[in-house]
């Protein structure tokens, strides 16, 4: 007769010891520094703050192992491996396989029947593990990254049922059978890493913010379920120098860490940390020491973690003392033993350590398509570059705007001492597409820094570049000459048509006056067809290209000046702008035109016997010639009147007012 008791016995679990078999402090750097929320810089320990993943340079891979330090512990145990990749500059992804992130409690049961202890055939086990994680981060700016990570947690309780079964020779024979209960949960964490200054980083992580379960433990085993309440963790890293940093971390579960790292050189890093836990006694729960060494693309780390409460962290505990609710993290909890960890990390792809970092980019102003060539020589902005290495570097900064530039423009190389900052001015060689910008547009510009001897860029930044419309003008008379287009087909056609119509009149008279007479014919030929029109409202610095002025037959003084400078230049007559900014009345600024008659001063009577009507200037070839002032706003009344008005203005402003000598009148040669 077989009799099944169907009795579940927990007797042994109440009195039996447990063995803590694993926990996850995956990497020696994590263990050695302790306060890791603001210190994540690659795929190792990204669960502390997934926002730090964006600091991965390219591919990275690490594998780690650990061992306990007591004789009862076996050899090294494979802890896990991580794989990380940064892509599209601002995104990073990492996965972690960590069979060693595990907390296993083994409860040897005993069965007591009629005063006889009989061992059962199977242990009871409580196992918690997080064997897989995945993290993703996005860098929103140079200073700010946010990441999200998911951890797959398994809580498994293996129960042994004992049944008393009658046998032939024995009245009741204990027979065991196993029942497993599992809870599987995806726990979602969110991390932020903010580096407002080169020397200061702040990290914040919210753990267990979301819980996605696909199986749960029965209510009767709820006391063995791990807590799932959200935990906030906040930390900071302060870099006192490139060689030394201090890190602090606190969390709402009562844990805190303080760690330091010193990198004296030769790729060596020394670390140590204090672990504080409000639930433990003494409160300083553990200390750690760490040593790291890196060379080229390999980094090796070793650490030692020692707990101060030798009893609690002995590796055995009675079930009555075990409190699953105290296990907020499998990384660090009251049931973890002393350990030595070892890991190897390798970087692939862009394996070179960054030597320089762009701290700030400043753009000086907008790009005016009319004078875009200027930026090949005149800086468009500047970048502040810090040497983040321990060596003196030679750096270069390059600037690139997609579509408007064919290739990045590089700055001259400059030297930066370790830890020091240098500023480099950015220039830009834009292509002709800039001239097609019809209205104000904002484009992204990429700024790269390269430090010798590397060829790849060490850091990259973005800045906004404002491209003004093709008719916009910055108000600087020097820029106005870039609107002068003597080789424009419309200008050439117009000037030649007018000269052709007056061919006979031009063929009579002294050749020395050719330029003067051509100018007169050109201006008279078009003057009657033009009308002075002010700029459109709200666009005071709007300049028409000559072809536009010729087409719409009107414009203001800037447009007229530019148009006639182009017409005159198109027939080989040199021109100059007279830029007048009256002192105290900049709103009365004005521009008019000079053209070179080509006539020597001693022949001035050929033009006028009143020398106030012209100006003697030395040209680029060193010869003094007579230049004629033209006031374009009255050009519709013909050459003589615009000449008279221009001459009178020049005499009043330059001769009487001393404007040229005092600097409020400038003469700017156009060509």
């Amino acid at each position: 007769m077989q009799m099944r008791t169907g009795l579940l016995l927990w007797t042994g679990m109440i009195i039996g010891p447990m063995a803590v078999e694993g926990q996850s402090l995956m990497d020696p750097r994590v263990v050695g520094l302790g306060a890791y929320t603001p210190a994540v810089k690659d795929s190792r320990g990204f669960g502390w703050n997934p926002g730090g993943l964006t600091q991965i340079r390219d591919w990275d891979f690490s594998v780690s192992t650990y061992t306990g330090v007591s004789s009862a512990d076996g050899g090294f145990v494979f802890h896990g491996l991580t794989l990380g990749k940064r892509f599209m500059d601002n995104e990073a992804l990492a996965i972690e396989y960590s069979p060693g992130t595990r907390l296993r409690l083994v409860v040897p049961p005993t069965l007591s029947v009629s005063g006889i202890d009989a061992p059962a055939s199977n242990d009871r086990e409580i196992e918690y593990s997080e064997q897989g994680s995945i993290g993703f981060a996005h860098r929103f700016s140079q200073d700010l990254s946010i990441g999200v990570a998911g951890r797959h947690r398994l809580e498994r309780i293996t129960d042994t049922r004992i049944s008393l079964v009658p046998r032939d020779s024995i009245l009741l024979m204990p027979v065991s059978s196993q029942i497993e209960y599992e809870a599987r949960t995806w726990l979602i964490d969110l991390g932020v890493l903010w580096t407002p200054f080169q020397y200061l980083s702040l990290g914040a992580t919210g753990k267990n913010l979301l819980r996605l379960r696909d199986a749960t433990l029965p209510d009767s085993l709820d006391r063995l379920a791990l807590p799932r309440e959200p935990i906030a963790s906040l930390g900071t890293v302060y870099r006192f120098s490139p060689e030394y940093l201090l890190a602090l971390n606190i969390a709402t579960d009562g844990q805190g860490m303080m760690g330091q790292e010193w990198t004296p050189g030769l790729g060596i890093a020394l670390r140590n940390a204090l672990y504080v836990d409000g639930h433990e006694s003494p409160a300083i729960a553990a200390v750690s020491l760490g040593l790291g060494w890196s060379y080229e693309f390999v980094e090796i780390g070793v650490s030692y973690l020692r707990f101060t409460d030798r009893t609690r962290h002995s590796g055995t505990i009675s079930l009555s003392d075990f409190d699953a609710k105290a296990v907020h993290s499998l990384d660090l909890n009251p049931y973890v033993r002393d350990r030595v960890s070892l890991s190897v990390k390798a970087i692939f792809g862009n394996i070179r350590e960054s030597l320089a970092r762009i701290e700030q980019v400043e753009m000086y102003g907008a790009v005016y398509p009319s004078s875009f060539e200027l930026f090949a020589y005149r800086p468009i902005g500047k970048a502040r570059v810090r040497n983040v290495s321990s060596k003196r570097i030679q750096a270069r900064v390059s600037f690139f705007v997609d579509k408007f530039m064919d290739a990045p423009t590089e700055s001259p190389s400059f030297t930066v001492e370790p830890g020091e900052v240098a500023e480099a001015e950015l220039t830009a060689v834009f292509n002709e597409r800039v001239k097609a910008v019809s209205k104000m547009t904002i484009r992204d510009a990429n700024i790269y820094v390269t430090a010798a001897p590397a060829e790849a860029y060490d850091d990259r930044a973005q800045a906004r570049v404002l491209f003004r419309g093709k008719n916009d003008w910055d108000g600087d008379a020097r820029s106005l000459r870039f609107f002068v287009t003597p080789d424009d087909p419309d200008v050439l056609r117009t000037s030649r048509d007018i000269l052709l119509q007056n061919k006979e009149a031009l063929s009579v008279g002294a050749g020395d006056l050719d330029s003067f007479r051509k100018a007169r014919v050109l201006i008279n030929g078009f003057a009657g067809k033009l009308m002075y029109v002010s700029d459109p409202k709200l666009t005071a610095d709007f300049v028409q290209y000559p072809s536009e002025t010729l087409k719409i037959r009107g414009g203001d003084c800037d447009d007229m000046t530019v148009c006639f400078a182009s017409l005159l230049s198109s027939v080989g007559i040199s021109t100059a702008f007279v830029d007048v900014v009256p002192p105290g009345s900049p709103e009365k600024s004005h521009i008019y035109l000079l053209f070179d008659s080509g006539l020597k001063p001693e022949f001035g009577d050929g033009i006028s016997d009143n020398s106030k009507r012209y100006i003697v200037r030395k040209g680029k070839n060193g010869t003094e010639t007579i230049w004629i002032p033209i006031e374009p706003t009255v050009i519709a009344r013909g050459f003589e009147e615009s000449w008279t008005a221009g001459a009178q203005e020049y005499f009043d402003e330059v001769e009487l007012g001393l404007g040229l000598a005092k600097g409020w009148v400038r003469i700017l040669d156009v060509n």
Partner: protein, 235 residues
Amino acid sequence: MRGLMVGVVALIWCVSVMAGDIVVQKVRGEVTVRQGVAEVWNHVATGDVLKPDDTMKTGEKGSAVILVTDVSGSGMEKRITLPSQVIMDMSDVRQLSQEELMLKLAMEKVRSSPYEWKTDELNIPNASVVHGADKGVSHTLVGNDIQIGIMQMNGTRVLFENGFYPTCVLKAMEVFRLYPPLGERFENRLMVAEALERAELKGEALGEYGGILKLVGLTAPQEQFVRSKIVQLRK
């Protein structure tokens, strides 16, 4: 009643000439005035008020006396006699400070040289040689009328004799530019050097005396005189 009207007219006249205007006090023979940048000469009569941008010309047997009130805002009155054969810009009948003169001299250099683009500015150079010059161009112009230049030089001398040294220097430079032969005459250059000396521009005066020594055809006494001036200035 008549006395009152005369008084009112006199008051209006005084007010009208107070703002630095120039009044023609006496005219003899042919005296004309050209306004601003106009090209036409008009006869002038006693009592006419001239503007600073006017130019006065006296004929072969003409002369004029002008009264300049409030010379350069100093409140001083100055009576100037223009002998025959003189062309003088009224804008030159003013006292420039030494600083203004130096600025003007600097301006002469600025006016004579194109704007120097800074090194960081893109300057697209022109070809120094223009191909395709018209070989058919004829050169038939005659030079400026030297007689006009002489009259202007006479005007410059009037400025010198009346103590308007800065404007004398500047005007002389302009005349030399338009009438190069006049700049090669010893007496004209000497006047400029002395004007600079009296304007207390020692360095510029030394330069001008040095320039005189380079003139062709200097007599021995002239050269000795200039050298003595240079020695004197260097002390």
